[in-house]
Symmetry: C2
Subunit: 265 residues, 2 copies
């Protein structure tokens, strides 16, 4: 089972869109996928067409210890199950802050279902708080979606520092596996400049012993495409909403690369 935290504390960069569409593409290939919504905004839950207002949506009760993952998941598509977020998740960080081992609650809850899934994808909130620490402790890999804008780069080193802290103190297996350029617009030089900045940074890290030494920029970028922003209002993945658009082609290739390490087609 590969457990991947999709994370960037900068808001609005494409985390949720990436989890929904990569999870759907992997499920379409026949892989058993669990998508976890760790964001109190519950956007992953809403995007997959599930009502986040229901109290018994799932992840909060798992973190509070009152139910197991097995009981809390809902099947949302063939091969795709969701551990959704409800409005009760808003208070979780404050409530868990005093718990012993508060960062590893999710990791322990995932133990019993390890052989039931091929992939676990975790949609993280736009912050580096306790919910995100739970995701990092439970994961073996981190995928970082990045919007190719200057301001979006500002927090990148803080994000890597947090990953490094979790790796050295809680989860030695954790590493940053990939960086995904989202909302990419090849017509503007800004997108290419930002990508070059990141490439330079990563090549400087190659020989170090850091959790991102092996990270690479996924060679497929997700182009800006309004259909990706329209799909959530229908509770649909991009493949259900507009299978022929750039968004669908791009996310299919991203999922292929994550699964096989190669670009398809």
């Amino acid at each position: 089972m590969r457990t991947i935290a999709v994370l960037n504390q900068k808001g609005g960069v494409g985390k949720t869109t990436t989890v929904v569409n990569v999870a759907a593409a992997l499920a379409d290939r026949g892989l058993r996928v669990l998508a976890i919504d760790l964001d109190p905004q519950a956007h992953l839950t809403v995007h997959l067409g599930v009502d986040a207002e229901q109290k018994d949506c799932g992840i909060y009760k798992v973190l509070a210890g009152s139910t197991s993952i097995e009981e809390a998941v809902v099947q949302v598509r063939p091969n795709l199950r969701l551990l959704g977020a409800g409005i009760d998740l808003v208070g979780a960080e404050a409530e868990l802050v005093g718990e012993v081992g508060r960062e590893i609650i999710l990791r322990q809850a995932l133990e019993p279902v390890k052989d039931k899934f091929d992939y676990v994808l975790i949609d993280c909130p736009p912050s580096l708080g306790l919910l995100t620490l739970n995701a990092l402790s439970a994961s073996t890999e981190v995928v970082i979606p990045i919007q190719p804008h200057f301001l979006a780069l500002q927090g990148f080193s803080r994000l890597l520092q947090t990953v490094s802290l979790v790796q050295s103190r809680i989860n030695p297996a954790l590493r940053v596996s990939a960086i995904l350029m989202c909302m990419f617009d090849a017509r503007t030089s800004l997108s290419t400049e930002v990508r070059e900045d990141i490439e330079k940074f990563l090549s400087g890290a190659r020989n170090q012993n850091s959790p991102w030494a092996g990270a690479q920029i996924i060679p497929v970028h997700v182009r800006r495409n309004i259909k990706l922003a329209e799909a959530p209002s229908y509770g649909k993945t991009i493949f259900e909403y507009e299978p022929g658009c750039h968004g669908a082609t791009d996310y299919l290739a991203v999922a292929e690369f994550i699964h096989t390490g190669k670009i398809c087609g």
Copy 2:
């Protein structure tokens, strides 16, 4: 003095871009403007070309009570002063949580400079925590930038509830004055649909006694324009970077509307 909190807990919707460019446009008209960076990401500070790594950047020391606003501000352009954020602001919320009257620290600090400025614009972090509560307690108005996407609408009612709580418990004068459509793309139906949703919501609120009963959508939208995303990497406002582009025209008209209630030209 008009004190305006620019707020939306959804990340990446145009808060910082709005504060920088509206502040610059008002200052260009000869108005005395103070821009406050309340976001630990320090994007407003960076966007105006100031080094956020400096420890003595400002706002943290003001909230901690060790210096006054007068001593902490820096002049960044003619008529435009900045109360910047440094990396020390990251820990502020946790440190202030036990303080008596923790929500009104900024309001008290602003008292002595009330007659030195015509406008105070506060760039809020993408959350509804203690820093944002300080902004809401110190302000008379709230301007809400919105990206015209379905997911961006999800948190809108929670945002209004927070404003309402601050109004009823801490700051009775607070009201939502305007909603600004950012990154607007008139070619797609999504932008227009989202605007219509908000219009319907606001017209239903007209007769109520809520802090948003008088709110209106600013009749000028800020179109998506890559120059707005390029300007921060040079530490420039849009007027300095590319004065003839859509971004500059749009933000000039937005600032005019905020100041006069009319659309110029």
